[in-house]
Structure formats: structure tokens, C-alpha cells
């Protein structure tokens, strides 16, 4: 297995902004909306290039989402952005009843998900967003692990008809080398192993890779799987993993309830019920602090993953 090299660090939201500009040039039907956070979400890049196709709604996420629905019903491909907290919780009814029930072509790309929002604290750290959207019919959810994967997710959402939720973070993330080509709904093995499998999404794929290195050195051969599409979940891959491994550790920067752990468990219980353990924020709110320290505090870091995995394997 080739050693994983973290070649560069990117802001996924920078990638989003640049990809939107690319799409704007290619497709005159692309329209972008924001709710007073265009500087942070980087939709400002698109606003600068295509002011006539950019609409700011001010601090009004519900109105923005329902308006996105109206534009999409008229044939526009709509990207709507704000922080993950407000895109999901604040506008949930609009997303369910207007966007998803009508299966409208709205791509919700939210930034600032999870505890790595950092100093702004709990009110701004969305840890329930995947759970909120995962239960809505017609919604598809992608949690990219790095910049290039974010780009693929955005291009895919543009191409595929219907609603999407793409969950991005605030902080810079290292780019994972030797990834597989992005395919909607298909997870993949980033690193092989035989004793334990770690399934991760988003920024925790990188943490899981580092943890796996430590575990390998301790003699616990650890596989790492990246599941970027939380919905539709890759049933085939998870069924295969549940047959190959007797223990599955799931890592996500999200509540244990309703996120990737739940999505994987829903498949595992119906296939080959093996033991599962979770690295997540377990039924708690976040708090202020530097992102790196918060990752440590909530037990989401490579060290925490390696420790929990070692304990789990001895059980």
C-alpha cells in the first residue's frame, strides 16, 4: 500500500466558490443565493462574476430556501448557501415541503459545519444537520473529505437533477492523495487492512488515516473507508465490509444520532450484524475554542480514534 501523503491544504469553501464561477461560465441556468454570508461561504466569487444571477436575501434563510424552490420550479439550477446550522435547522420546513417534496433542482451547499467552526461556539456548530436532512425523501447528502472531493461533489450536484445537501467545513483541510474517482453513492477503501475497518466521512477521513497508521504500527491492521455520500448510502460496500470485518468503527464530526453511524448501522443490522463503535459527538453541544483543540476535546482526533479502536479491538 502506498504511503498516504497530504500534499496540500485547501479551504473546501474556496473550492466551492471557484467551482461555482466555472459552472456559471458553462451554464447560464446556474443561479446562486446566499443569506448574508457570501463572504464566508465564498458565493461572493460568483456574485462578482455574475451579479445578475446572484441574489442575497439578507439574514432570511427560510425565505431564501423557499425562493430557491420557486427559481428551480422555473428551470433554474439553484445553489443556495449559508452556514450548515441555518441551512438545515432554520429552514427545515422550507427544505422539506418546498424543495424535497417537489423534488426541485436546489443544491444546498453549506459551510461551517461541525465543531471545527471553532471560536463562535455551540450556536454555530451544526452537529445535527445530516440527521435533519437524512430523513427527508428525495434529499441526497454528500460530505466531502477534502477540496478536490468537494469540487467533484459540486459538479455532480450540478449535473444530477434534484435536491442535494453538500456539507463543507470552515477550516483548511489536507488533500488526501490517491483517492478514487468520485462516484455519487459509492464509498471506497482508501487503505486496506484486515483486523478492523474504520468508516469515516468529511474531515475525519484524514484523522482516520493517521489513526490507522498508528494502529498498523501497533500490529492492528486497519482498513479505512471513505463514505462521502451519506444518502443514498453505499449498501453494497457496507454489506461487504460487514462480512469481511467483525468490528466496524464509524467516525464523523456530527452527533452519533442520525448521521453516518446510523446510516451504516441501518445497513449492517440487515446484513451481518457485527459490533460497531462510534467516534462522534455523543448527544452534546459544542463550545468555543480553537478548532484543533475542539477536535481533541470531543474525542474526534487521530489519537482518540486510535485509542478507541485499540480498546474496541480488544473487547
Amino acid at each position: 500500500m502506498k504511503e498516504q501523503v497530504m500534499s496540500e491544504k485547501l479551504y473546501a469553501r474556496d473550492v466551492y466558490g471557484k467551482t461555482l464561477v466555472e459552472l456559471g461560465k458553462l451554464d447560464p441556468n446556474v443561479v446562486v443565493l446566499d443569506a448574508d454570508l457570501s463572504g464566508s461561504t465564498r458565493t461572493s466569487f460568483f456574485a462578482k462574476e455574475f451579479p445578475e444571477r446572484f441574489f442575497n436575501f439578507g439574514v432570511a434563510e427560510q425565505g431564501m430556501m423557499a425562493t430557491a424552490g420557486g427559481l428551480a420550479s422555473s428551470g433554474k439550477i439553484v445553489f443556495a448557501s449559508t452556514f450548515a446550522m441555518f441551512a438545515t435547522a432554520r429552514a427545515l420546513d422550507q427544505v422539506r415541503n418546498t424543495i424535497c417534496y417537489n423534488k426541485l433542482n436546489v443544491k444546498i451547499v453549506a459551510t461551517h459545519s461541525g465543531v471545527t467552526v471553532g471560536e463562535d461556539g455551540a450556536s454555530h456548530q451544526a452537529l445535527e444537520d445530516i440527521s435533519f436532512f437524512r430523513s427527508i425523501p428525495n434529499m441526497r447528502i454528500i460530505v466531502p473529505c477534502d477540496g478536490p472531493e468537494a469540487r467533484s461533489a459540486i459538479l455532480t450536484a450540478h449535473k444530477e437533477e434534484g435536491p442535494f445537501y453538500i456539507r463543507l467545513g470552515r477550516s483548511k483541510i489536507p488533500t488526501l492523495e490517491s483517492k478514487k474517482e468520485f462516484s455519487l453513492g459509492k464509498g471506497y477503501i482508501v487503505k486496506e487492512g484486515s483486523d478492523l475497518v474504520i468508516i469515516a466521512c468529511g474531515i475525519l477521513v484524514n484523522e482516520a488515516m493517521q489513526a490507522a497508521k498508528t494502529l498498523d504500527e501497533k500490529g492492528i491492521s486497519t482498513a479505512v473507508v471513505n463514505i462521502h455520500t451519506i444518502k443514498p448510502i453505499d449498501v453494497q460496500l457496507i454489506e461487504d465490509l460487514s462480512k469481511r470485518f467483525s468490528k466496524i468503527l464509524v467516525c464523523e464530526e456530527h452527533q452519533k444520532i442520525g448521521g453516518l453511524f446510523s446510516a451504516v448501522a441501518e445497513v449492517v443490522v440487515g446484513s451481518n450484524p457485527v459490533l460497531m463503535e462510534s467516534i462522534s459527538v455523543n448527544d452534546k453541544f459544542g463550545q468555543s475554542g480553537p478548532p484543533g483543540e475542539l477536535i481533541d476535546f470531543y474525542g474526534l482526533s487521530a489519537n482518540s480514534i486510535a485509542e478507541k479502536a485499540a480498546k474496541f479491538i480488544r473487547q
Binding site: 436575501f57 439578507g58 427560510q62 425565505g63 430556501m65 423557499a66 420557486g70 427559481l71 420550479s73 415541503n97
Partner: protein, 280 residues
């Protein structure tokens, strides 16, 4: 009375009869607001709007969105009379597998976007109006809201944004019957001063009698001439209009008539029809 107005009046009465029949058959639904909004809906579908029932997706069409989704029986009746789907479908309202859901669904020909969860429709219409502007289509967008519905915060987000974007191709109508499920709007959550509210949000406001066809047509005609502002028509209406024992009765917001009540209601509406045809 001119022939056009006479025809619209008779169409409205036909729609009211269908509403009563549909709701009685369904044994549930919302007669009060369906009857109060009937004349508004009739004017839009049979005179004001540019649309093609045999081509519901015609790009140049004016669009109608029922933000107060619970009053869909009135819209379903109008759509079927226009020819969007066969009249027989009306009696399947609210039944399993029906084309006609209890609240509007996109699967019904002529329904643009589903509604039912109140307060979102004006934003949906704002999106449609922005799309028309981007596509340089001169079509108009009409959004019918309930009065109680405007207690929703989302309505005011849409009100602010529609004025900000100067959408003169957008026309909202409030069916101001002064009742909501729990009682009178002034007791549950006062909406007054309603005109000042909308004016201060930057809208052109036109008040009229929501059952007077001439006044409604004049309101819609005026809205078309207003530039750089959206228009809202505050249509003063009577909940349960056209059926004496339903008028101003809050219990008929969300309860269907019984078989007996249906019979009396239809008789009353037939009498109205006879009176109208005698007005030559």
C-alpha cells in the same frame, strides 16, 4: 352588468357548488376559505391569467400559486372547469391514490408547486418572478395567501425581498375573511393595520371587495400597470361566502358539510344561479 362579469359570476357559483359536493364526498376539508377565495380564483383562471390548459408547462404562462394550500378545492374545481383534468377526478379528492391531494401536489396538472405548510408561497412566487425576469419572459406570478397565514415570519421575509428586488411582475392577494381556525384574526393575532404593514414593506396596496368581480378585475388590471414594486390586493371577503349557514362561521374553516347540509347548500347556490340568470 356586462356579459364577461355575468359569465364569471356564473362560473364562480358553479365552482362553489363543486366545492360543496367535493367536500361532502371527501367528508373532510376546508369549505370556509375555499368559498371566500372562489371569486378571486375565478377571475384569475377565467379572465386575468394567460395560460393554456392543454399545455400546462407553456413557457409564456402566467403562474398561480395557492400559498393557502388548504383551500385547494376551489383551485381544483377551477382547473377542471378550465380543462386541466376531467371533472370526474373532483370526486376523488382526499382519497387514497387520488390525483387530488388534501393539499396541492405537483402531480395535479395545473399545480406549479406543492403547498400546505403555510407562509412559504410568497417566497416560492418571488423565485418564479425572479426567474421570469432572468429569462426575459413578461409573464406574471399570482400568489394567493390566507389572512391568518401572514402571521408566519417567512411571509415577511418574502415581502421584504420582493420589494428589494422591485418585482412588479409579482401580485399577491390576501383572502381577508378575518377568520382563522381558532377564531377571529383580531382575537387570535391581530393583523391590523394591514395596509400600513404592506405599504411600509414597499408594496403597492390595493383594497377591494373580494366578491365583487368588477372590483377584482380592476385591481388585477391596476396591478399590471404598477412599475418597480410588487402589488398586494387585500380582498375583503366573507368566510363561507355563498352558503348562508357557513358565512362567518369559524367551525366551517376545517369541517366538511354533512349530507343534509350539502343538500341545503346546493339549493341555496342554485337559487343564486337562478337570480343571476334573471339579471339579463
Amino acid at each position: 352588468m356586462n356579459q364577461k362579469v355575468k359569465n364569471l359570476k356564473s362560473k364562480a357559483t358553479e365552482i362553489r357548488k363543486l366545492i360543496i359536493k367535493m367536500l361532502t364526498e371527501a367528508k373532510s376539508g376546508h369549505p370556509g376559505g375555499s368559498l371566500s377565495s372562489t371569486d378571486i380564483i375565478t377571475c384569475l383562471f377565467f379572465d386575468v391569467m394567460r395560460h393554456k390548459p392543454d399545455d400546462p408547462n407553456w413557457a409564456q404562462r402566467d403562474k398561480f400559486h395557492l400559498s393557502k394550500g388548504h383551500c385547494c378545492p376551489a383551485v381544483y374545481a377551477a382547473l377542471s372547469l378550465c380543462g386541466y383534468f376531467p371533472k370526474e377526478e373532483l370526486m376523488t379528492l382526499r382519497k387514497l391514490g387520488s390525483l387530488l391531494q388534501g393539499h396541492p401536489d405537483k402531480k395535479t396538472p395545473g399545480i406549479e408547486v406543492a403547498s400546505g405548510s403555510l407562509g412559504q408561497g410568497l417566497s416560492v412566487c418571488l423565485g418564479m418572478a425572479l426567474a421570469n425576469r432572468l429569462d426575459k419572459i413578461d409573464s406574471r406570478v399570482y400568489c394567493l395567501m390566507g389572512d391568518g397565514e401572514t402571521q408566519e415570519g417567512n411571509v415577511w421575509e418574502a415581502a421584504m425581498a420582493s420589494a428589494h428586488y422591485k418585482l412588479d411582475n409579482l401580485c399577491a392577494i390576501i383572502d381577508y375573511n378575518r377568520f382563522q381556525i381558532d377564531g377571529r384574526t383580531e382575537e387570535i393575532m391581530n393583523l391590523e393595520p394591514i395596509v400600513n404593514k404592506w405599504e411600509s414593506f414597499g408594496w403597492h396596496v390595493h383594497q377591494c371587495d373580494g366578491h365583487n368581480i368588477d372590483e377584482l378585475l380592476e385591481a388585477f388590471a391596476e396591478a399590471k400597470t404598477v412599475k418597480f414594486k410588487p402589488t398586494i390586493i387585500i380582498a375583503h371577503t366573507v368566510k363561507g361566502k355563498g352558503v348562508s349557514f357557513m358565512e362567518h362561521v369559524v367551525n366551517f374553516h376545517g369541517n366538511a358539510p354533512s349530507e343534509k347540509e350539502c343538500e341545503i347548500a346546493l339549493k341555496e347556490l342554485e337559487d343564486i344561479e337562478k337570480d343571476e340568470s334573471g339579471l339579463e
